[in-house]
């Protein structure tokens, strides 16, 4: 008799589970839930921001929102959203990745002008992170390509930070060698010194800090500060190169999804609050360079002065992405035939 009961119980349980599953997926379509698909290093930033925003929204509307986030290499995340990852907002590493989602009809084409500062509430830059005492004496881009130096950096085909890395490196190499061939040779020497390519900037940070691989981590300034904070002062040092690039990670509402979920009001408010004084304060204390003057006054001192170029100097991302990172682009050319094999795929 127990057997019959077990079978009946099993059937009932699976029916119940099925119903629960359906209602579970329906929850994602709840007007009070938001999914922020972000690039790799922003976990701490948005964990902090989500708490602040949730309190603000609860006070304003009386309901506490349910906020989720997903992290990964910027390019990989963009493709995931295109593939169907139900993002309400995207906060990625560079405008091109959001543009590629817009091209698929998921975001309105004029997204970048909908928020101030070209939809970039915070900026950052590229720096080097070295181990305590800087044993390999790394001061500038030149020192990275010396033999025996191991660089940890992510894969430009998937990571946004990696693409900012390449542009900054290119700016330096072009200025130094004066020719495109010289810059290509530099890029080749750079990646020759990279033992492992992670998919995202945060993966690279973990490889450098937790796995102890490499002599220098080339990546986001925000992540460098975070690593020092996590590991304790003195464990790592930030080295500012002679030239770097102004990184502007933009944010956008994913129109198709918010209209489907009914979350447009919540999503718009979520992004707009990033520009508010409280949002900018969160940004500053998480080591991202804020825009708001009050936050700049409060946090500006913690950031080093850097000589910055911009992506506009290169002609903008629409030109840069295919020229540098497309199939057969400058990156592939720099790396020769083995480029595709090393970076993998398109």
């Amino acid at each position: 008799m127990t057997n019959v009961l077990t079978r009946r119980a099993a059937l009932a349980l699976s029916a119940g589970a099925g119903a629960a599953a359906l209602s579970g997926t329906a929850a994602l379509a709840d007007a009070n839930a938001l999914l922020n698909v972000s690039y790799d290093p922003t976990a701490q930033l948005y964990a902090d921001y989500d708490k602040v925003f949730a309190a603000y929204w609860a006070k304003k509307t009386g309901t506490t929102p349910v906020l989720h986030y997903s992290h990964g290499g910027s390019g990989a995340q963009a493709r995931a959203v295109i593939e169907g990852l139900a993002a309400d907002v995207v906060t990625l590493a560079l405008a091109y990745d959001i543009d590629s989602i817009a091209k698929r009809g998921l975001i309105a084409p004029d997204w970048q002008s909908r928020l101030p500062d070209n939809s970039t509430p915070y900026t950052s830059t590229i720096v080097f992170l070295v181990r305590k005492g800087n044993p390999k004496n790394i001061k500038d881009w030149d020192d990275l390509v010396k033999p025996g130096v191991q660089i940890v950096a992510p894969n430009p085909k998937t990571s946004g930070g990696a693409r900012w890395n390449v542009l900054a490196a290119w700016a330096y190499a072009l200025k130094k060698t004066g020719s495109e061939d010289g810059a290509k040779a530099y890029l080749k020497a750079f990646f020759a010194n990279v033992p492992v390519l992670d998919t995202g900037a945060h993966g690279s940070t973990l490889t450098f800090t937790q796995r102890g691989i490499g002599d220098v981590l080339v990546g986001w300034e925000s992540d460098a500060f975070l690593s020092i904070k996590q590991a304790g002062t003195g464990s790592y040092e930030i080295v500012v190169p002679s030239i770097s690039i102004l990184c502007e990670p933009p944010v956008a509402v994913v129109d198709k999804n918010v209209d489907k979920h009914g979350t447009r009001a919540l999503a718009t408010a979520y992004l707009e609050y990033l520009y508010a004084p409280e949002g900018q304060d969160v940004i500053g204390r998480n080591f991202y360079r804020p825009r708001d003057p009050a936050a700049v006054a409060k946090y500006g001192h913690q950031f080093p002065a850097v000589n910055l170029t911009t992506v506009q100097a290169f002609g903008g991302w629409a030109k840069v992405q295919p020229e540098f990172f497309g199939e057969g682009g400058l990156l592939d050319q720099a790396y020769g035939q083995s480029g595709a094999a090393f970076f993998g795929g398109s």
């Binding site: 059937l11 599953a21 999914l35 169907g84």
Partner: protein, 274 residues
């Protein structure tokens, strides 16, 4: 008996270092910041979501593979037909396929550039990055678990009692419920136990198809990875300890079952390894 002593010590030392130590370290690391930190890590809403999601996936996967296992055991163990051995080998296939490949299969079927991708997108159905994809991947990986416990057991037990029941006028379902199932129930329970442990703990396959949204599409295993990668080591081990406790319960139940029914299950083991 020095050699005997030496062998025992070697074997136990080996097991202590390679098996016991990792297990102990899970609990040690989980409690390294005290019981308070442990409790708050478990009670965290995202972890609660992960627990719920893991239970849902198991609740769908295990019954599905249970029904399959029972059907397979009936037609394979009770009848002789051409291609039977081939069928058994095919059923065992997922056991020898890497879980990552299992995830890849789902992506090739349901991803945007996959076989059904465009059709699914047109009809607004989300399989990859959502629960259905994760359930399918888990079903694939745990597919043979119940069948491969029950089939040899049923074969070992033979058809005599069932055939006697036929001569006494029982219908198919009656034979199944009242004759076969009681004999098989320990094998079934054993298979369900293993299937459940694997379904709840699966990582590789669901990692490929999950949206990796912590708090939404992360199972317990994925939550462990997510926390570990965010520098939250103690929290990661706290969640891991839940899974480790599940493993221990599974092991204890398994040992009890094997001891109670060692004769039957030993015959099954011999049939399988021989």
């Amino acid at each position: 008996m020095a050699s005997r002593f030496l062998l025992i010590v070697t074997a136990m030392a080996f097991m202590a270092v390679f098996l016991l130590l990792p297990l102990i370290s899970v609990f040690a690391e989980a409690l390294s910041a005290g019981l308070g930190a442990y409790a708050s890590a478990i009670v965290d809403p995202n972890v609660q979501s992960a627990i719920w999601l893991t239970l849902i996936i198991a609740a769908i996967t295990v019954p599905a593979n249970l029904i399959f296992g029972v059907c397979a055991s009936w037609c394979i163990a009770r009848f002789k037909f051409w291609g039977r051995d081939l069928l058994i080998t095919l059923i065992d296939l997922p056991f020898s396929i890497s879980p990552v490949v299992a995830g890849l299969l789902e992506v090739l079927l349901f991803g945007l550039n996959g076989l059904l991708g465009n059709w699914l997108s047109d009809h607004n159905i989300q399989i990859i990055f959502a629960l259905p994809g994760m359930v399918l991947a888990t079903i694939f990986v745990t597919f043979p678990f119940v069948a491969r416990e029950v089939i040899p057991l049923a074969q070992e037990q033979g058809n005599d009692e069932e055939e006697a029941a036929v001569t006494l006028g029982a219908s198919g379902l009656q034979i199944f419920w009242r004759v076969s199932l009681p004999k098989l129930r320990w094998g079934l329970f054993y298979g369900v136990l293993l299937c459940n442990a694997r379904a709840m703990g699966e990582f590789g396959a669901v990692s490929v198809v999950s949206g990796k949204v912590f708090g939404e599409t992360d199972t317990l295993s994925l939550a462990v990875e997510s926390l570990y990668g965010s520098y939250e080591i103690q929290a990661a081990f706290a969640v891991a300890s839940l899974l480790a406790m599940l493993a221990l319960v599974t092991l204890v139940l398994k040992a009890v079952l094997e001891w109670l029914h060692r004769d039957e299950l030993n015959a099954v083991k011999r049939k399988r390894t021989a």
